[in-house]
């Protein structure tokens, strides 16, 4: 009996896997699966909406197309590629991170880096200017007077 145990478990597992897979193979893709792909595409008519959220007829047909492709066994990426092949990369909600789409991603990063280096430059220039004075300022006993009081005093003094 014992020697049949392992093959038995294996075949049981195999049957379960097959049973689990069966409905997937037989059934149409669910609306959620279609939406999951549609979310990554643009609505062809209204531009600013994604295909999932658009309620026009054209978008309905496009979602139908996605459903058909998924039913034929296309993977998500294959469906996207199918649309790109027909309508160009502009059907994608997110620009591709290669080729021309890369520009979209790169410039903000370059801009930010430029900003950071500018900031570093300014800070260095400013802080290098006066180490002596800074030292003098630190020499003040801490908490001798709090910011708020100091500000008030200064403000009141302005009146004179």
């Amino acid at each position: 009996m014992k020697k049949y145990f392992i093959p038995f478990i294996f075949s049981l597992a195999a049957i379960m896997v097959m049973l689990a897979a069966l409905p997937v193979l037989a059934q149409d893709p669910s609306m959620d699966e279609v939406n999951h792909v549609a979310r990554k595409l643009n609505c062809p008519t209204c531009q600013s909406l994604n295909l999932e959220d658009c309620r026009t007829q054209t978008c309905d047909q496009w979602r139908g197309q996605i459903k058909d492709l998924l039913a034929e066994g296309y993977t998500e990426q294959e469906v996207l590629d199918w649309f790109i092949a027909r309508f160009g990369v502009e059907v994608l909600q997110e620009p591709p991170r290669q080729g021309r789409g890369l520009f979209a991603w790169l410039l903000p990063i370059v801009g930010l880096l430029a900003g950071v280096s500018w900031l570093a430059f300014v800070l260095r220039r400013w802080s290098a200017a006066k180490p002596a004075e800074a030292a003098a300022a630190t020499a003040l006993p801490e908490d001798a007077i709090d910011d708020e009081t100091l500000r008030k005093i200064e403000e009141d003094l302005k009146g004179f």
Binding site: M31, S48, G111, L119, S127, A134, T138
Partner: protein
């Protein structure tokens, strides 16, 4: 009647041109009579545009369909309310409305007594009228809302269905007010440059105007988000749509401006930066108006593509270049009085905050314009959708939440490391605790969400400490009880403590945004009568929705409503019945899907009807669970309250005559 409106527009244009000439001549030749004449002419512009608006409203209310614009935006079915609001329902009317709002601000500025800054006023008038001329020029020439048809149509087309919502009625005027009000700080900054002033007088005197402009812009954004959530039916509040972005970008530049002026006021630094920021803000305001009006970038908001595009571009170019030339020519005057003492100072943190804001603004601008830029330079149009904006700006926004907590801890000039560590102990502990405990005991486990919440906790602690320190100090020093100490504290320095309230608003809103961005779940299901489907989220538990029927009900005039009824059970118990519906605007052949929601604490179940079989036996619904979404709206309210506190006439402003006088020493008039 329409000819009266048109004549008023033409007169406004002539008066505006005259006002510029008289104001500049008056200032150069030192002729008070000419300046007074310019002032009266400017007020005349406001009056003439008011007449034009009144005529337009009269035409809209009396259904004068021979006026093309009236026929375009109203019809017999429209209620009085929507007739009035139709003024800004389409391009031509909204341009007139925009010009009128702007003229109200110029009028208000001129009726104010300016005292110390009187020398600026002629140039302020000239700048304001220069901007006005462009908009009035548009409605006089290529976008005349009073244009007549050669026949008298029996009925009009009616307003765009998207606009039939209270939020859409309030949203444009609020947003426009925010836009146009920035003309005040801009005009004062330009006038200060013209007159070679190096002080911060222009900034101080327009401080409240700027805050009010910012308040309206913020409210416009919030209302727009709320409208999208209530009406557009895609389960969200922000779609990174070109026109939404067009309103966000100026806000992203105006916000660091509001912060960096504080540096200039306290430390006499960043003068160039501030002038640059206000020029940029206003240029972006005009550019945003251009994006909305010209239709260069597709959007749900876009009005018809038209001839005004090139004119707008030309104007933006002229305005921007002229401002820059003036700015650069005064470069030396705008040098800093002080230099940065330390990296660990409020100035340095504010600089970083500015950098983050500008970084986000640039990213959003770039993404919004990328379709045009890629088409022009690379040959094919690459669309940049929400995923790009989320990924590119999300981390920067999270960084801003953190900075919002660090800045108040830093005093001006510098802080010793010992003191800094002592200040940081409590907030850092709270933040770290949140970062450790959240993933252990709650469903919030995603790294980005946990980190953002830790930042929120850190910053909230710092902000509370700030209030506590102030209140406690007053309590000890003046013997006030904690409540009146709080009131007095805020009263004494409304900008500061109002500002902290705004920060709290942002923190609350952040909670809602994180909930939506990281944990929104959705499902779409087709169900037959009596059938159920379920949706669940760890934040709310499981909802079962049972389809109980579909009915056609008469909606607003000219609209057919199809209502789906769903029974909502929460964890097995019936809690609600919701009725999402679809409006179908027969004349325009346009559908709108209006969601219905079931609230559970701060979270919401949000359902729309996506489609149905003609026999009504089955329908498909889309359901979302929006965790913590109501924190966003609550945060918005706190945010607006905080801004009102900060903008309210404070004792600080009342004291201004004294401090303004003492500061005149730094003003050089050449």
């Amino acid at each position: 009647m329409p000819s009266i409106g048109y004549t008023a527009q033409v007169l406004a244009l002539i008066l505006a041109v005259y006002a510029i000439v008289a104001a500049v001549l008056g200032a150069r030749k030192n002729r008070p009579d000419l300046i007074l004449s310019a002032k009266n002419a400017s007020l005349g512009v406001t009056i003439m545009l008011t007449v034009a608006i009144a005529v337009m409203e009269y035409l809209l209310l009396t259904q004068h369909y021979q006026t093309e614009y009236v026929a375009q935006v109203t019809n017999r079915d429209a209620t009085t309310f929507f007739r009035v609001a139709a003024l800004w329902g389409s391009q031509k009317g909204s341009l007139l409305f925009f010009a009128w709002l702007m003229s109200l601000f110029t009028g208000a500025v001129l009726l104010n007594k300016w005292g110390a800054v009187k020398t600026l006023i002629p140039y302020v008038m000239a700048v304001m009228n220069f901007i006005l001329i462009f908009f009035v020029g548009l409605v006089v020439t290529v976008a005349n809302p009073f244009a007549q048809l050669s026949f008298f149509p029996a009925d009009g087309n009616g307003l765009n269905p998207l606009l039939y919502h209270w939020g859409m009625v309030i949203h444009p005027p609020v947003l426009y007010t925010g836009f146009v009000a920035f003309i005040v700080p801009y005009a004062f900054a330009m006038a200060a440059l013209f007159t070679n002033q190096r002080g911060d007088l222009w900034m101080r005197t327009t401080r409240r105007w700027t805050l009010i402009a910012w308040l309206f812009l913020s409210m416009g954004l919030l209302l727009g988000g709320r409208w999208a959530y209530d009406v557009l039916g895609w389960g969200g509040y922000w779609g990174w749509d070109a026109v939404e972005n067009a309103a966000l970008i100026p806000w992203l530049v105006a916000t660091p401006f509001l912060h960096s002026v504080i540096i200039q006021e306290n430390r006499g630094m960043m003068k160039r930066w501030n002038v640059g920021l206000i020029i940029l803000t206003f240029a972006l305001v005009i550019e945003g108006t251009f994006l909305t009006r010209s239709g260069v970038i597709g959007s749900v908001h876009t009005f018809a593509q038209s001839a005004i595009g090139p004119l707008f571009l030309g104007f933006i170019g002229v305005m921007f270049i002229a401002s820059l030339v003036l700015f650069v020519s005064r470069w030396e005057i705008l040098g800093s009085d002080n230099e940065l003492d330390s990296m660990f100072s409020r100035e340095a943190i504010f600089l970083l905050n500015n950098l983050f804001f500008i970084g986000i603004a640039f990213t959003v601008w770039w993404g919004t314009h990328f379709p045009i830029i890629s088409e022009a330079l690379l040959g094919n149009k690459i669309v940049v959708g929400p995923p790009f904006f989320r990924k590119a700006t999300g981390p920067l926004f999270a960084g801003l939440v953190l900075l919002m907590g660090i800045a108040p801890l830093m005093p001006w000039r510098q802080i010793s490391s010992k003191k800094l560590i002592r200040q940081l102990t409590l907030p850092v502990t709270v933040g770290v605790m949140v970062a450790i405990l959240l993933p252990l005991f709650t469903n919030i486990k995603m790294k980005g969400a946990v980190m953002t919440f830790a930042f929120v906790a850190f910053t909230a602690t710092v902000t509370l400490m700030e209030y506590w320190r102030g209140v406690n100090a007053r309590h000890r020093a003046h013997g006030e009880n904690y409540f009146s100490a709080m009131i007095n504290l805020v009263n004494r320095n409304r900008r500061r403590y109002g500002g902290y309230l705004i920060h709290f608003g942002v923190l609350f809103a952040t909670i809602g945004i994180v909930g939506m961005e990281f944990y929104q779940v959705e499902t779409q299901q087709n169900v037959s009568l009596g059938e159920s489907f379920s949706i669940s989220s760890p934040f709310t538990g499981t909802y079962d929705l049972t389809f109980e029927g579909l009915k056609q009900v008469p909606g607003k005039p000219g609209v057919e409503n199809t209502v789906g009824t769903l029974q909502v059970s929460h964890n097995g118990q019936v809690v609600d019945t919701i009725e999402p519906y679809r409006e179908f605007f027969v004349r325009q052949q346009q559908p709108m899907t209006i969601p219905d929601v079931h609230r559970q604490g701060m979270s919401e179940l949000y359902v729309i009807i996506a489609g149905w079989e003609p026999d009504g036996q089955s329908a498909s619904f889309k359901a979302y669970i929006n965790p913590m979404i109501n924190w966003l709206w609550f945060g918005g309210i706190v945010f607006v309250l905080g801004t009102l506190v900060a903008a309210w006439l404070s004792t600080e402003v009342k004291r201004r005559p004294v401090s303004a006088k003492s500061r005149q020493g730094t003003v050089e008039v050449s």
